[in-house]
């Protein structure tokens, strides 16, 4: 016997019924489970996704984006499943305040992703060459193994410091273009030597065009930097719930 459970896609700022045309995982009808003035967007689920296919992840995302057209949504992590409707309502009751605060803050806003790749390896090499492998400021006197070790480490430290300063200068250039049109931002800097910036910006709907234009402007003067622009996405990176409140 197949055990039915409840698959949850997101929390919305609406308690209204959906029209039943939206289909979720396993082609099940997506519906809204109201709690006070908010709702959990769910579908019935037979409890098994094996193997997890890319199409399932895309379907989850597709449902959230579809709901985003009409409501503010707090996207829930892929494969979040409750045993029965009653459990969903208990969760909604316990976390209602946190959900409301986030829904209010994220209303009419969407997330955009910006990734920038630069020639980090080459830039570091150039910095290293300019030091000619001989950083002596301040000098470490003596030639014991420990002093030689410290001298070598200090050289690398200075090269890295210059590398990070160069990276920060470029990131500031990108961010100066974009942040004036964003309500919030999250910047991940130098995730790898070449991935200079992996950023998420939360943008108000009526500023999306300006945000896109700012990115295009940056792109035109970005020189050898390569860029990736994505969105609008559900605000995955801007939901602030205490750990105990995570769905």
């Amino acid at each position: 016997m197949i055990k039915m459970s409840i698959y949850i896609y997101g929390i919305t700022d609406s308690k209204d019924k959906l029209d039943g045309s939206l289909k979720g995982l396993e082609k099940a009808v997506v519906y809204n489970m109201p709690y006070q003035d908010i709702g959990a967007v769910v579908s019935d689920f037979n409890g098994e996704i094996r193997p997890i296919a890319e199409s399932c992840v895309m379907k989850h995302e597709e449902v959230i984006e579809e709901i985003m057209r009409d409501f503010t949504v707090l996207p829930v992590k892929f494969l979040t499943i409750f045993e029965k409707q009653e459990n969903v309502l208990i969760m909604m009751k316990e976390r209602y305040d946190g959900f409301k605060e986030n829904l209010n803050r994220l209303r009419n806003k969407a997330e955009f992703g910006i990734k920038i790749i630069w020639a980090g390896g080459k830039i570091k090499e150039n910095i290293s060459d300019s030091h000619n492998g001989n950083v002596q400021d301040p000098p470490i006197s003596g030639n014991s193994p420990a002093k030689n070790y410290m001298r070598e480490k200090f050289g690398k430290y200075k090269i890295n410091s210059e590398f990070e300063a160069a990276a920060n200068k470029r990131i500031k250039m990108v961010d100066d273009f974009l942040s004036k049109f964003a309500a919030e931002k999250k910047l991940n800097v130098l995730k790898s030597e070449n991935l200079l910036l992996d950023a998420s910006y939360l943008v108000e709907r009526d500023k999306e065009c300006k945000f896109r234009a700012a990115f295009e402007h940056f792109k035109n003067i970005s020189g050898d930097m390569k860029s990736l622009f994505s969105g609008p996405w559900p605000p995955y990176n801007f939901i602030n719930l205490p750990i105990k409140d995570k769905v």
């Binding site: 895309m58 984006e65 990734k115 790749i117 301040p138 470490i140 006197s141 003596g142 014991s144 193994p145 420990a146 002093k147 070790y149 410290m150 480490k153 200090f154 430290y157 200075k158 999250k186 991940n188 995730k191 790898s192 070449n194 991935l195 390569k226 860029s227 990736l228 622009f229 994505s230 969105g231 609008p232 996405w233 990176n237």
Partner: protein
């Protein structure tokens, strides 16, 4: 809006390669397979030790830069850091771990190292 319209770049292969490289290096979960559990735990412990070692090293370099260390201090700290690095090298060898593997993805907080 399709995925193609949502992701705009003129350098897709470069980004795919870079992101795949990052995902290979930094798994989101500790490997708790019974056959590899020892390596998984070692990886976690060594990552934390590496974090502390890097912090100590950075602090030491800042003090060298600031000129606040005497010759004896530099000698003593250098010897300590050198021994610590040597021990880490040995431990990584025992568990078959590479430098790039010593990291943890902390979700919304980013990567540990």
């Amino acid at each position: 809006m399709t995925m193609d319209e949502k992701v705009l770049t003129d350098s897709a292969p470069v980004f795919i390669e870079e992101i795949e490289k990052l995902q290979e290096v930094i798994p989101r979960k500790i490997n708790a397979d019974p056959k590899n559990v020892e390596k998984g735990v070692a990886k976690l412990v060594l990552t934390l030790i590496e974090l502390v070692r890097k912090l100590l090293e950075k602090q030491a370099m800042k003090r060298v830069e600031g000129g606040s260390l005497s010759d004896d201090d530099v000698e003593r700290i250098g010897e300590t850091l050198m021994k610590l690095e040597k021990k880490m090298f040995e431990l990584k060898g025992i568990f078959g771990l590479e430098d790039e593997e010593l990291n943890l993805n902390l979700g919304p907080l980013g990567d540990l190292l």
